[in-house]
Amino acid sequence: MRLLLKDMLRRKFRWPFAVFALSAMGYWWAAGWHHDSAGVMQRAFRASLVAAFLLGPLLIAFAPEPRAVWHMPISRRDHWRATWLLATVGPTLILGTGKLLGLLFTPGPGWLNFLSSVSLSAVYDFVYTGIACGGIIVLARSRHARPSTWLLLPRLVVIIPMALLVGGGMLWPYLFRNRLPIRWSDLAPLSGTTLAAGLTIAVATYFHTPQPPAPGSWTRAAPGSGSTTRRSPFDWMHGLTGLWRLLAREYLFSIGLGAFLVLTSGLLVFVAGTFMQSSEGDGGFLAMQHLLLFDPSLTVQRGQVFDLLIWLALFVTTLVSRFPEIIRHLRVLPVGALRLNLLLVLWPALMVLTIWMALLALHLAVLGTPVGSLRPGLFLALVGASAIARSVTLRWPRLSSWFFIFVISGGPMVRMVDDISAWWFVALGLAGIAAAAVLNHSTLTRSATYRTRTPKQAAMQPHWS
């Protein structure tokens, strides 16, 4: 177990840990500076919970484990416990250190006054990451479900809990931040009991023993299914072949996933708005989400993270195509490198165009009036941002695990929609597209681009199953 922990530390503790520790320092330094502001302190608590979730359950428990680890004499229970320690105690300690260091440099009334808050925040971090580990256990169990008839179901039982766990894990702290006691003395009987229950669940997850993963054969066609194709009634692409089939399939996939994410985000935004008692009706709600962006006068700058959630989902839509996964196959087919580069660069334009059309339809449906401006500058900027994000993940596949960074860096552009000149957006967009084209050209002519991805995937497996 000691060796396993050491190995995991070496493999999984990377620069994100330092970044998040520094961010915790910053937040708690600010909290110490504004010692009389409960709002700043609540933000520091919230940021700590989000960082703990990202550093712990998300980064540690979801990272694939080399297959070789499973061939060593290590029990699944020990493996889970090592993972659990790194996913819960690890972030709590790292962030706790960051918080204390941040407070040390505070010129306020003395950092010792904040020890109660720091220790409570650390307990929250631990409980939150522990409960997230419980979510991982539940998710692993759902992966083992074996529905035999409806093939969509097994996908949904994986996707929905995954979305709730991953998406929700980062968002719940925003919902609860105003209700979290920030000192031990603030704990009421109900909040104290809830915290104790959470602590019990978090500690209990340590004693979990993972089951061996189920063989992935339950979707296999019956032996001797032969060469005759059984066409699904939902095969909308019947008759399409070659590149057109690829484009149609990726388009449907991206739009389908995007629609799911947008609807889920919309629901979360709605729930969050209601919960925080700032629900807006009809057009006001849409304006706050920047969804009526064709009428600048309607856009409301509120600054809530939820305002961006739908846009983040829309930005993801432009990036989820699976071209990188089949890049080697595409390269041996009669598709030139230039055409492939064009496909990679122009794909985001097609996706943003679809989003624009959907927003135009929404605008017309809600307001019933023609749009004020088509926002070509913002359109180009989003295309450029998506194109460069796609190029970077293709060039440096390891960064794909930091996919959300690209997403988070692209979405906020919408918030700046009225602050930045359209010409700046045009310039940014064109620069992004040009940079993406150059980077793609370099990537497509590198030998390394076509290696490692598949074997690496083959050699990995999620270790929480």
Binding site: G216, R220, S225, T241, R328, S447, T454
Partner: protein, 290 residues
Amino acid sequence: MSGNAIEIRGLEKAFPAFALGPLDLTVPRGAIYGFVGPNGSGKTTTIDLIFGMGTKDAGSIDVLGLDHLKDEVAMKRQVAYVGPDLNFAPWGKVHKAVAFVRGFYPSWDQQYCERLMTALDVGANDPIVTLSFGARIKLALILALAWRPKVLVLDEPTVGLDAISKQVVFTELLAAVQDEDRTVLISSHGLSDVERFADHLGMIKDGRMLFEGATADVIARFRVVDLVATGTIPVAAHPGVVVQRRDGERWRVLVDLQRTSLERLKLLGVTLVADAPVTLEELFVALGRA
């Protein structure tokens, strides 16, 4: 137009820890060319460079008289690739991958495709993620053979295949070459298969071609010789001699008859005990270790 299907001249590509070339490789039209070499010798790099997966530092690659970069698309319309790294999983089911690939090739033969699927036991409705490694290779082979390309480039196509599947694959390959004058470049570690089916051989080591030519010529070029020599006779330093084993004064060596002869060895003062033809595996091991 050159009479060769693939002609590589002076190919060079440097990586931080490995350098390929200068490499010359000639695959005559209609040949089954076995491209062999130890792990990390540059086989896959060479094949990748043919398809533009990486940029060469120097040299030229012509396939069917077409420059592999200037005439990239025209070349790829006639050359098929099979390798273990191809990922078809995003397509979901086998027939969807087939529907995708067939659109690129006007010569696609659906009946032939279905015959191959039956022969190789790959079902049209099989979900690709559930296929075994060997079955995925079979799928790649089906997708490559079904449009009857003029040149087939196979990178480790028999990895993960059982003996029966291997037999079927090679039977199909032989039929393809005999029927239609197709060329096959096959990189493989299955030396016995290569020896059995390839009519031309090339062996690469540390990025350099050690030898290439018709299989019969290559096999005839080398002999395994048992000899007795005293310690003062410089057997190991003699050109064209690769020591396989030494036990005191008894030696087993591989002799390259293009560089030396058994008579010349006798002139050194050694006593020849026995000599025998070499198998490709013996050749591979001896030259690979040397």
